[in-house]
C-alpha cells in the first residue's frame, strides 16, 4: 500500500491540515481516543464539509455547511447493482449551505487567488509545475474543451457522458424515471441481462472468463511465502484471538438498521423507537454473573478505552459476547472528549486496528493493492472487553 508523502514516518514530517468530507471521521475511527490524542494536536487546521453537526464537526475548526441529498443535483452508484441514482433539488439549499461541487469550486477559486506557483515531484520522480492561478478555471472545465461545468447539473451530465455505462443517459431522464446502466465495461464481472437483476461474476460462470487469480479460478489456496511458512494460512484456517486484551467478552459492533453509520444515530424520531440512548447487549447469563439488570448503566472497558451505555439483556446473545450496534455519536456517550477525569469515551474507544500482516502482501496475482478490494483493513474482530456496572453519575 502506498504511503505518501514518502518517508513520512522517518523524516518527522507530520500532517497539518485535515479535510474531512463525506465522513464522520473522528467518531467512526477505530482507536478513537488515540486519534483524538495523537492526531488532533498535530493539526493546524481541521475543516469539515458536512450537512450536519456531528462529532467531527464539533471538533473541527471550520465547518463548511453542505446541502443534503434533496437540495442539489448529484449522482450515486455502486458496482453492486446496475442503476445510476440521481439526487435532485426538491428544495433550494437551506441556511446558506452549498453543494459539495460548489464548495470545492469556491476552494479552488480561493487557492487561485493566492497565485501560488511551485514545483512538485510525482511518485515516479517527474517534476511538474503547479500553478494555482488557473485552478478555478481548471476545476470548472476539467479536461473538456473549455466547456463550463460550474453548474452542478452540468457537471453530473458531464459524468454521465464520460462513462460508457451512462453515455446516452440524461440527468432529466434519470430524474424522471430510474434507469439502468446502458452497458458494463471490462471491469465489471457481469453483463447487463435484460429483465434480470444484476449479480456478480456472471461473465465467469457463463462465459468462462478467467478470474484475476493465479489459477484463473476461484482459489482458496495461496502459495505466497508469508502464507505458507510465516503465518500458516495457505488455506483458510481458524485462529484463536490474538493474545492481547485478555478480557472476557468478545466486543461485536455490527451495522444497525437505525442509522447509516453515524447518520441518523442522534435523530429524535429514531431514538424514540429504540431506548432513547446508547445500549449494549449481554446474554442473561453474563448479565446475571455481573449482578446486572436490564437498563442498568454499564461501563464497557478494556486497555484502549471505555464507554458508558445502558444494558439490554437479550437471550439472542450467546454467552461471552457484548454487542453494541455501531455509530453512536461521542456526544451521546458520557461526557465529551475533553473530560479530564481520564474517562475515555466514543463507541470506537475499545477498538484498535491491528494490522494483519498477510494483508500487506501485494504484487502477487490477485493479492494486489486496490482501494476497498485488497489491502490492510480495520481488523478489530479480536477486541475483547469487560462490562461492569457503572458507579458514577450520569448527566
Amino acid at each position: 500500500m502506498p504511503l505518501w508523502p514518502k518517508d513520512t514516518l522517518t523524516t518527522g514530517r507530520s500532517p497539518r491540515v485535515l479535510f474531512v468530507w463525506g465522513a464522520n471521521y473522528l467518531n467512526q475511527a477505530k482507536g478513537f481516543l488515540d486519534v483524538y490524542q495523537t492526531l488532533w494536536p498535530k493539526l493546524d487546521l481541521i475543516v469539515d464539509l458536512n450537512f450536519r453537526m456531528d462529532t467531527t464537526a464539533l471538533y473541527a475548526d471550520v465547518v463548511l455547511p453542505a446541502t443534503s441529498w434533496f437540495e442539489m443535483w448529484n449522482l450515486n452508484t455502486t458496482d453492486l447493482h446496475s442503476y445510476i441514482i440521481p439526487f435532485t433539488p426538491v428544495i433550494p439549499p437551506q441556511f446558506g449551505s452549498r453543494s459539495d461541487w460548489q464548495i470545492w469550486q469556491g476552494l479552488a477559486d480561493a487557492l487561485a487567488n493566492t497565485g501560488v506557483v511551485f514545483q512538485d515531484s510525482l511518485p515516479d520522480g517527474t517534476t511538474i509545475t503547479r500553478d494555482y492561478a488557473t485552478l478555478g478555471t481548471d476545476f470548472r472545465t476539467l479536461n473538456t474543451d473549455g466547456q463550463d461545468l460550474s453548474d452542478d447539473k452540468d457537471a453530473c451530465q458531464f459524468l454521465l457522458d464520460s462513462s460508457v455505462e451512462t453515455n446516452g443517459l440524461t440527468m432529466d431522464g434519470i430524474a424522471e424515471q430510474p434507469a439502468r446502466l446502458l452497458e458494463t465495461s471490462e471491469e465489471w464481472t457481469s453483463d447487463l441481462l435484460p429483465n434480470q437483476a444484476y449479480y456478480g461474476f456472471q461473465r465467469m460462470t457463463e462465459h468462462l472468463k478467467p478470474l484475476h487469480t493465479l489459477t484463473g479460478r476461484q482459489q482458496f489456496y495461496i502459495d505466497h511465502d508469508w502464507y505458507l511458512s510465516d503465518f500458516r494460512e495457505e488455506l483458510p484456517v481458524y485462529k484463536p484471538p490474538v493474545d492481547a486484551d485478555l478480557y472476557p467478552l468478545r466486543w461485536i459492533t455490527p451495522h444497525g438498521r437505525w442509522s447509516i453509520h453515524s447518520t441518523y444515530r442522534d435523530l429524535k424520531f429514531q431514538l424514540r423507537m429504540q431506548r432513547g440512548r446508547p445500549i449494549v447487549y449481554l446474554s442473561p447469563s453474563e448479565a446475571q454473573a455481573r449482578g446486572l439488570l436490564d437498563n442498568d448503566p454499564v461501563e464497557v472497558l478494556n486497555d484502549h478505552g471505555s464507554l458508558v451505555a445502558h444494558l439490554c439483556v437479550s437471550p439472542r446473545l450467546p454467552a461471552g459476547m457484548a454487542l453494541m450496534y455501531h455509530g453512536w455519536e461521542s456526544y451521546m456517550l458520557k461526557n465529551n472528549l475533553d473530560d479530564t477525569s481520564g474517562f475515555k469515551n466514543g463507541w470506537q474507544g475499545p477498538c484498535t486496528i491491528r494490522i494483519k500482516p498477510t494483508q500487506l502482501v501485494g504484487g502477487y496475482a490477485q493479492l494486489k493493492f486496490r482501494l476497498n478490494y485488497w489491502g490492510p483493513t480495520g481488523n478489530q474482530k479480536d477486541t475483547r472487553v469487560q462490562v461492569v456496572k457503572y458507579a458514577g453519575t450520569l448527566p
Binding site: 453537526m53 438498521r257 442522534d266 431506548r275 440512548r277 439472542r316 456526544y331 451521546m332 465529551n336 448527566p395
Partner: protein, 350 residues
C-alpha cells in the same frame, strides 16, 4: 350501522418484515408529527414479539366483545402515556450542538424525561430482546395499524356516535367535531389503536390514509397508504374485500394463508397476517418460534378453539412449505409469485 358497500383490507406477510420501522416513520411524518399532543402516537407501529408491545401489555388489557357476543368490554383501564405507550423523548440538541463560535456548552445528549425508572418504557422498548435461549432464541416483528374492523368495538363503545365506519370503504374514523374525549373507544378497542390527544382532548387514530385514497393522483395511482408504499420489505397488500381478483383476496380466500390477529376479541379485523415460519430448534424438529405462541395470537374467527387455531397455523405453514418446495424444485407457484411480487401494482390494488 349502515350497510358497508366496500371494505378496505390489508395483509402483512410476517415472513418478510425486517422491523425497519420505515412504515412507522412514513406514517409518523405524514400524520402525527405536527400537532401537539400527538408526539407519542404511532398509528402504525411495529413491535417485537414476544414483547410487551405498544402500549405495554395491550394483548391482555381488555376491550372487544365478550365471547362472540355484542357486549363491549369497557372494564380496561386507560393506558398512561409515559408509562404504557412510552414517553416521546425530547433532546437537548441546542445545548450540545450549537457552539456559538466556540465549544458546545453541554457535552452529552440526553433524553427527557430520562428513562431510568424500572418501569420506564417506549413504544419499542422490547425491540429485538426476544425469548428462549441461545442458539434457539426467537422473536419476530409485528406491524400494526387500526384493523378497520367489520364489527368495531370503538364504534359500539362511543356514546356520542363520534366514531363511525364509512359506508363506501369501511374505514373507521373519529369525527373530531363530535368527539368529546370520553375515551370509551380507547377502552373498547382491544388492539389499543385509538389514541388520546391530551392537548386537543380528543381521540385520534389511523385513517387508512383516506385522503390519498379519495384524491387519487392520475400520474401516480399507486400512491396510496404511506405504510404500504414505503414498506421496504414489500410485506403489505391492500385491496377491497369485494375484489375477488386481487392478490390479497387470493392470499386470504383461495390460498388461505392470511390469519387474523386475536380474532377472539370479536371485532372481525380487516387486517390479515401470514404467520412467520422459523428454523428448527437445534437438535429437534420443532420450529424455533413456538406454534403455541402463534396459535395464541392468530386465528380465523372468535369461536375457534385453541386447538383449531393451532391446526390452522400448522396448515398455513404446510401450504407455504409445499409451495416453496415446488419452486425450489424448478416448478412454479401462484402463491410464491404473489408473495414475492416485485411491482407495487401487484400489492396495491385499491
Amino acid at each position: 350501522m349502515a350497510k358497508i358497500t366496500g371494505q378496505v383490507q390489508m395483509l402483512f406477510d410476517l415472513n418478510k418484515c425486517l422491523g425497519c420501522q420505515t412504515c412507522t416513520s412514513a406514517c409518523k411524518t405524514a400524520w402525527t408529527d405536527k400537532d401537539q399532543g400527538q408526539e407519542y402516537m404511532y398509528w402504525n407501529n411495529v413491535e417485537t414479539v414476544p414483547g410487551r408491545g405498544y402500549p405495554k401489555g395491550w394483548q391482555t388489557m381488555g376491550g372487544g366483545f365478550k365471547a362472540c357476543t355484542n357486549q363491549v368490554d369497557l372494564s380496561a383501564p386507560l393506558p398512561s402515556i409515559n408509562r404504557d405507550y412510552g414517553a416521546p423523548w425530547e433532546y437537548n440538541y441546542d445545548e450540545v450542538l450549537t457552539t456559538e463560535g466556540g465549544d458546545a456548552t453541554v457535552g452529552m445528549l440526553v433524553p427527557a424525561p430520562r428513562p431510568d425508572a424500572p418501569n420506564d418504557y417506549s413504544s419499542n422498548w422490547d425491540e429485538d430482546v426476544g425469548a428462549g435461549a441461545h442458539p434457539d432464541a426467537y422473536y419476530f416483528y409485528l406491524p400494526r395499524i387500526c384493523n378497520h374492523c367489520s364489527k368495531p368495538a370503538c364504534v359500539a363503545a362511543c356514546p356520542r356516535k363520534a366514531v363511525y365506519k364509512r359506508e363506501e370503504d369501511g374505514i373507521v374514523l373519529i369525527d373530531q367535531d363530535r368527539c368529546r374525549g370520553y375515551r370509551y373507544c380507547i377502552k373498547g378497542c382491544p388492539y389499543k389503536k385509538i389514541y388520546w390527544n391530551p392537548i386537543v382532548k380528543k381521540s385520534q387514530k389511523c385513517i387508512f390514509c383516506y385522503p390519498r385514497l379519495e384524491n387519487e393522483d392520475p400520474e401516480n395511482p399507486l400512491a396510496k397508504n404511506f405504510c404500504v408504499t414505503q414498506c421496504v420489505g414489500r410485506i403489505r397488500w391492500v385491496a377491497y374485500a369485494e375484489d375477488t381478483t386481487s392478490n390479497l383476496y387470493k392470499l386470504v380466500n383461495v390460498w388461505r394463508v392470511g390469519l387474523r390477529l386475536h380474532p377472539e376479541f370479536g371485532t372481525e379485523p380487516n387486517t390479515f397476517y401470514i404467520p412467520p415460519l422459523s428454523p428448527r430448534v437445534t437438535n429437534g424438529t420443532a420450529p424455533r418460534i413456538p406454534t403455541d405462541l402463534l396459535a395464541e395470537m392468530f386465528g380465523d374467527n372468535c369461536s375457534q378453539t385453541f386447538e383449531q387455531r393451532k391446526a390452522r397455523v400448522e396448515e398455513v405453514f404446510a401450504i407455504l412449505e409445499q409451495e416453496r418446495a415446488k419452486v425450489a424444485a424448478g416448478g412454479t407457484s401462484e402463491l410464491v409469485d404473489i408473495l414475492t411480487s416485485y411491482s407495487e401494482s401487484d400489492r396495491i390494488q385499491l
